[in-house]
Amino acid sequence: MGSPLWRLVAIGLVAGVFSSLFGVGGGIVVVPLLLLATALRAHEATATSLGAILVTALAGVALYGLRGEVRPAYAALVGAPAVAGAIVGARLQQRLSGRTLTLTFAALLAALGCWLLVA
């Protein structure tokens, strides 16, 4: 595994705080932290981020679901094409080099950063 547990726990805590403060998903925070603070390569960092998001989203759905805020039909409307998209995206990723993937992610961060500054 190679990455000390405390670092992973710290990444999770930071991601959770940021996502609740700014309404951004954990991935925006988890992927760069994994890239900068662990030995994971770009493809591993993005894949592992997805696994972490699955856990967090499940907990969130359980919480909101209890309060009756979740609308399953709407989730299916955007979620069904997203599932197909995720397969395509993951497949597409395998054709990219680690460097290209890192730079693409950096572009996403920069775009989001600008948007947060301006909006």
Partner: protein, 128 residues
Amino acid sequence: MTTWTIIAALVLGGAAGVFSGLLGVGGGILFVPTLVALGLGQVEAAATSLLAIVPTAAVGAYSQRRYGNLRVGPALAIGISSIAGVEFGVRIATRLDEELLRRLFGLLLLAVAAQLVVRSRRRYPASS
């Protein structure tokens, strides 16, 4: 809901999925505004977005596992601890200036993006 809004929602949902599988994000950035445009309130949209993220992240993570990229242990450690982080974030959110915070986060993201560019040159020195 008109036919066109449904088509737009399907297209945006698909795009969110591609982003998710490609870059390891949940897709909420696209899901939430799409759901708000469909008429849901902010809280409902955020909650419903999480439900849409569950199958998207599950299928994406499963694909990545088959490609040999998923690290299950670290994913669980990060996912579980982030639940605690959310709880903490909710408590401090009300005490801070939201506008200032958002701008600072924007700056932070730009700095991290720059750092990633620098890092990628060091880590992958051969031009590809």
